[in-house]
């Protein structure tokens, strides 16, 4: 593997994330209206207000796990009575909140004035936010997004828009601030423009050897969760895509001796990014893409860019509510996966069965069979937990990953 030097986009990422958390704490301290949201809640709506800021517990939990303190925070929640079987993001968040953000890499999140969850990525999020609602006595707004077995229906989109309007009204009433649709439109435009660059960045995985690894893309997702809708967001993803393009032109590849091109299905294993990417690279394997990162900026059933037409921001936000993998079904997931596997010339799929994320993992056994039977793709199922390192075994994982590489070799030899 080529020696990993920090890229300009890597340095900028640290700045974007650092600035976002600093800004969040500073504005909250100066009286901003603070909202905690689930990742699917359209953050652009909050930019339609003068002084509303948002924190994303899931993102904070992922960062906590990546910084190596996930287990510590999980244990705090478990001591409070929360089962070890519950989602590790939730346990990290509950543990972190319990002692005011002690041990958090960002000093936690400032106390919210409103909690906004949704049930499309996972419905347990509503229960998780209910924990805070009860403990902190903070109102909880629930956005109900119908699951998509088929492409999103108009009746469902209208229902989602109705709820966005109710959310806006709720914030207006609680904060005393007026919502400005033009500002929200500008925020959605910025997100959409940033997503164009994100897609451009991901497209360098089509190179052989790939210009990126999925591990790079996992890390680079952070601005989606802390800076959506801002100009900084656009600039960052432009920098990322431009720099990656230049590196490819210069012949700089993350796994120069790439022999196996793999595809990842599930949330990133935040506690293993460095170790797993390094160990795979030594085997000549690169996970070049992932469902987790490909679905951003799309609609259910496709990984193609779904661009904003510049008209109605609420309509756009509603239309993209099911874009992540969990809010839509097996058939649509398979459809999107098949296309990207062809585009990226994938040799094998790593299905990461994630004990902390049932909505992502249930159907993987069928999906694996479908990919093998219908498209002849080699694959393997490994056990992970996205944020609880105690539920991960490197030995067993790499035994299976090596078996996958052997499958690929056998297929090539046949």
């Amino acid at each position: 593997m080529a020696k990993k030097e920090k890229t300009s986009a890597g340095r900028n990422l640290s700045k974007v994330v650092g600035d976002a958390y600093m800004d969040l704490h500073a504005k909250a301290a100066h009286g901003a209206f603070v909202v905690w949201i689930a990742i699917n809640v359209p953050a652009e709506l909050f930019l339609g207000f003068e002084n509303v800021v948002y924190g994303v517990p899931e993102s904070h939990a992922a960062l906590t796990a990546a910084k190596g303190v996930g287990v510590l925070q999980c244990e705090k929640a478990e001591q409070m009575g929360y089962s070890m079987d519950l989602c590790s993001y939730a346990r990290i968040d509950i543990g972190s909140v319990a002692d005011g953000g002690k041990d958090s890499p960002t000093f936690g999140l400032p106390k919210p004035d409103l909690l906004v969850s949704d049930n499309n990525n996972c419905s347990l999020l509503v229960k998780w936010f209910d924990v805070h609602h009860r403990r902190m006595g903070v109102p909880h707004f629930v956005i109900d997004v119908p699951f998509c077995y088929e492409p999103q229906k108009e009746k469902d989109r209208k229902y989602i828009i109705q709820q966005f309007n109710d959310l806006i009204r709720t914030i207006e009433e609680m904060s005393g601030q007026k919502f400005d649709m033009d500002k929200a439109l500008s925020a959605v435009s910025n997100t959409s423009e940033g997503v164009v660059h994100w897609k451009r960045f991901l497209s360098f995985a089509q190179q052989r050897p790939s210009g990126i690894t999925a591990f790079d893309s996992f890390v680079q997702m952070a601005p989606f969760l802390v800076a959506r809708g801002t100009l900084q967001f656009v600039d960052h993803y432009k920098l990322l895509a431009d720099e990656t393009e230049q590196r490819v032109k210069d012949g700089q590849f993350p796994v120069p001796d790439e022999k196996y091109r793999l595809f990842w299905d599930n949330i990133a294993p935040w506690h293993q990014l460095r170790d797993m990417s390094g160990s795979l690279a030594k085997l000549g394997a690169n996970i070049v893409g992932a469902t987790y990162t490909s679905c951003i900026g799309t609609v259910e059933g496709s990984f193609a860019l779904y661009a904003f037409d510049g008209k109605d921001p609420l309509e756009y936000c509603a239309r993209t509510q099911n874009c992540y993998m969990c809010p839509h079904g097996m058939k649509l997931r398979g459809q999107a996966m098949q296309t990207v596997i062809e585009e990226l010339n994938i040799d094998g799929i790593v299905f990461a069965s994630n004990r902390s994320c049932k909505p992502y993992s249930v159907t993987q056994l069928d999906q694996q069979k479908l990919m093998m039977d219908q498209f002849g793709i080699a694959s393997v199922m490994i056990d992970v937990d996205h944020a609880d390192a105690r539920k991960y075994s490197k030995e067993s994982t790499f035994t299976r990953l090596e078996a996958l590489l052997e499958q690929i070799e056998a297929k090539r030899a046949a």
């Binding site: 419905s123 209910d130 109900d144 077995y149």
Partner: protein, 375 residues
């Protein structure tokens, strides 16, 4: 559930007269609507005693999904004799929402394609969003779909009749529960009867429940010390296995109430009779006895449990945790704390799919809990 109910036999009997059977999940489907349209809904929940293993289900579901999902999948996929004419499901937890496609695909492969009908029950908080128009559309669409797929028709008169019948059944279930609380009926017999009702016609349900209510062949030994037994409430998504129920009752505890999804929560709601199914079911879902699966009932859960404790004068609550049921497990710590603050003792018992090995551990904990309540 005990093993004495042969579900397949029950389904064959239901099928005998040419009735069309709709398997439903999760727990609170619009039963009245199916009955009004001459369909027989059977709620596919608590099938632990019905399937002997999870061989087929294990091909599709990981071992960290709950037993409800695994048994349900096993039951439907291994039941290839065409007993079910269709499957109905509404949105519930993160595991169950993925089952329809798994079942649909495998059923097709098995050559027994099942008609699958899905409805979205709004989960918004009524104080935040008025979902009545959306819900009305869902119910109207469901009626159209049932008419089209099963060649049946809807009539307001038959709907009102079905509403009255179901209300009668729910009343009988409540009366049977009261007999358990008074020590005249064993909880296991009661739970078995409610389970059997789910696979019976309305008339059969009424007969079964009436015989339970009218049965005065009390167990003298059980009845003798009923007043000295500390009362407990069971709470969970399913009743505990027979061994745990026996352990609770033989430890000298009296089950005086239940907050169990497949029992008390499912028959506690009796909305006003209405001709309009959308209006009726809007009341049904939004006034429903709190259940973690109905996300908007979260704020009422603690109050309703307190109410149950007060009404039954229970000294303790035993939480029956279904392993991997995240909905329930997110709420336990809060409920436990709140109850303890009010001086109500609590015990958590976790039931996993392969739980036979845990029996003695459960028994010891239940005995210790009983001693605590008696002291």
């Amino acid at each position: 559930m005990s093993m004495k109910i042969d579900i397949n036999k029950k389904l064959k009997l239901l099928k005998k007269d040419g009735r069309k059977i709709i398997g439903c999940f999760p727990l609170y489907p619009p039963l009245e609507l199916f009955y009004a349209m001459d369909l027989v809904p059977v709620v596919l929940w608590g099938l632990r005693g019905t399937v002997t293993d999870t061989t087929e289900s294990d091909q599709h579901l990981q071992n960290y999904t709950c037993s409800v999902a695994r048994h349900l999948t096993e039951f439907v996929l291994s039941n290839t004799s065409g007993l079910l004419d269709g499957l109905f499901m509404y949105n519930a937890c993160d595991t169950l929402r993925n089952l329809p496609e798994i079942i649909e695909k495998k059923s097709e492969t098995n050559g027994h394609a099942l008609s699958l009908i899905k409805v979205h029950i709004p989960m918004v908080l009524p104080s935040q969003t008025d979902a009545s128009a959306y819900f009305k559309n869902e119910i109207n669409h469901l009626i159209e779909e049932l008419e089209e797929r099963f060649d049946v028709s809807f009539s307001k008169d038959k709907f009102v009749e079905a509403v009255k019948q179901i209300k009668h059944i729910r009343n009988l279930m409540t009366r049977a529960e009261n007999r358990v609380a008074k020590g005249h009926l064993r909880f296991l017999n009661f739970a078995d009867a409610i389970h059997e009702c789910r696979f019976s016609t309305i008339d059969e349900q009424a007969r079964l429940l009436e015989s339970l209510i009218d049965d005065f062949s009390d167990d003298p030994a059980f009845l003798a010390d009923k007043d000295s037994r500390p009362g407990v409430i069971l709470s969970g998504i399913l009743p505990p296995p027979p061994s745990v129920i026996n352990s609770i009752e033989s430890s000298g505890l009296q089950i005086v109430g239940n907050d169990i999804a497949s029992l008390g929560r499912s028959y506690a709601s009796m909305p006003e009779t209405r001709e309009d199914p959308a209006a009726y079911f809007l009341d049904f879902y939004y006034q429903h006895f709190p259940c973690p699966t109905l996300l908007y009932t979260g704020d009422r859960r603690t109050t309703s449990l307190f109410g149950l404790v007060e009404k039954t004068r229970a000294k303790g609550v035993i939480f029956i945790g279904e392993k991997f049921c995240e909905y329930e497990y997110f709420e336990f710590p809060h409920l436990v704390q709140q109850l303890r603050d009010k001086g109500v003792q609590t015990l958590e018992v976790e039931i996993a799919i392969e739980d036979d090995a845990q029996t003695s551990a459960h028994n010891s904990r239940i005995s210790a809990f009983a001693e605590l309540l008696k002291s």
